[in-house]
Amino acid sequence: MVATAIEVHGLEKSYRDLHVLRGVDFDVARGSIFALLGSNGAGKTTVIRILSTLLKTDAGTATVNGFDVATHAPDVRESISLTGQFAAVDEILTGRENLVLVARLRHLKDTGRIADELLERFALTDAGGRRVSNYSGGMRRRLDIAMSLIGSPPVIFLDEPTTGLDPEARIEVWRAIRELAAGGTTVLLTTQYLDEAEHLADRIAILHEGRIIVNGTLAELKKLLPPAKVEYVEKQPTLEDVFFAIVGGGK
């Protein structure tokens, strides 16, 4: 087993004239939670799509679980699970049927038991027999994440996992993500919410104008602020302060 679960070097991607990624570099340590932070349109989803073999890069390399995404896509797919930015669930099937479907497609045995355990774990047991089209946004997202855990892949990508969730559902998703990392899973999540990165991540990278402009632990990021400012604020600076100080956005 290699120590780094994800390695990204010089990743570039354009959509026609739009140069979205201009040389993205970062590594993610095995078993850690890594937050890719960036405003809307920064290219977070593009990075995730490349890492989950859904999109080809224009330049640069990326390996996931030791496998090159360009040359060993099937091995990468064996190693990962993707929870996309928008819940990708089958509306016509029931929650339980969705879980069984994914378990079958992962070629697992005992798919019914796997489904029931996940329904229980994500507080969906009562809703399990109902069609997903009747689910609330939070329930859909929980099911979506539950579907990603099937087969316990070593690396999980979560693209804005809590966008659009109410605070309660958000906390619940956070809890699930922490549990995953505690179990040794590597989690790469993207978020626009600074406090989400602050609460969850072991390391935070800020994607801005096509590059990673900062990459470090929360403590390291906080040190980036000029000390003069620290003297005048009563509280510790939040990640939000750091973010806007670096990317130059106005508060």
């Binding site: 989950s52 073999t53 089958d90 509306e91 016509i92 070629h107």
Partner: protein, 253 residues
């Protein structure tokens, strides 16, 4: 990966058949328009149309079946479009499955759903007095032709399903196909049509397929039409398959 092709296709086929069985209205909708045309032509226009055959229902049925298939395959485009838009297709593609299983599951679902619609339409035709003395072999030939035609049109439907920008766009491709039987030998003999229309009608695919099925029903020798029909179906199938799988690769890579 490809070792899982059959298993994955089976799993995904089960999924989309559930979609079909939970929206049986799609099968009813598929069958309703052709049945309406059958009623209209048999009971309203039929008396005024001289086809030279004893039973106008029997004359009409092959064209009606073609129409049923043309409207049935729109649901394949529709379901594929929804899979793409809902993101579930991306989820499947990021999983360790045989990638072509997703398309094949939709195509096989189309065969099953259309077969049910066809049975419904033939059932109505029987009630309306359709009778055929065709033997088992002739019926099998009819079934085979219809399935081949369905397969060709389904792969054609995959293309807008993958490339359309809207739900309407995904199903709009079928309107010309549904109307094609009107300018063919399906409802009236082509001999009564004016020159250019007749030339078109006699050389478009529906006529050869309709003539073949009609001859099989009426226990007539099928003649050259069956080869022309086969050539059209296989030709369409091959071209549509190549274009559709090309569009799929572009979509998922």
């Amino acid at each position: 990966m490809t070792a899982h092709f059959i298993g994955d296709t089976g799993t995904l086929l089960g999924r989309s058949l559930r979609h079909v069985s939970r929206s049986l209205d799609t099968i009813v909708t598929t069958a309703i328009m052709p049945i309406a045309f059958m009623l209209l032509f048999v009971y309203v226009f039929g008396g005024a149309i001289d086809t030279g055959s004893d039973s106008y229902v029997a004359y009409l049925l092959p064209g009606i079946l073609i129409m049923t298939i043309a409207s049935g395959v729109t649901y394949t485009a529709y379901r594929l479009f929804l899979d793409l838009r809902s993101g579930i297709l991306e989820r499947f593609q990021s999983m360790p499955i045989a990638r072509s299983a997703v398309l094949w599951a939709h195509v096989l679902t189309s065969l099953v759903a259309n077969l049910i619609s066809l049975v419904v339409v033939v059932g109505v035709a029987l009630v309306m007095g359709f009778r055929s003395g065709a033997g088992v072999l002739a019926w099998l030939a009819v079934l085979g032709s219809l399935l081949l035609f369905t397969l060709a049109l389904t792969w054609l439907a995959v293309i807008p399903g993958l490339t359309a920008k809207s739900v309407d766009g995904a199903s709009a491709f079928a309107y010309p196909l549904i109307l094609l039987p009107f300018v063919s030998s399906a409802f009236v003999p082509t001999g009564t049509m004016p020159g250019p229309v007749r030339a078109f009608a006699e050389h478009q695919p529906v006529t050869s397929i309709v003539n073949t099925i009609r001859d099989l029903f009426m226990q007539q020798p099928v003649g050259n039409d069956i080869w022309i029909a086969l050539a059209w179906c296989v030709g369409t199938l091959v071209v549509a398959y190549v274009v559709a799988t090309g569009a799929y690769r572009r979509k998922i890579s």
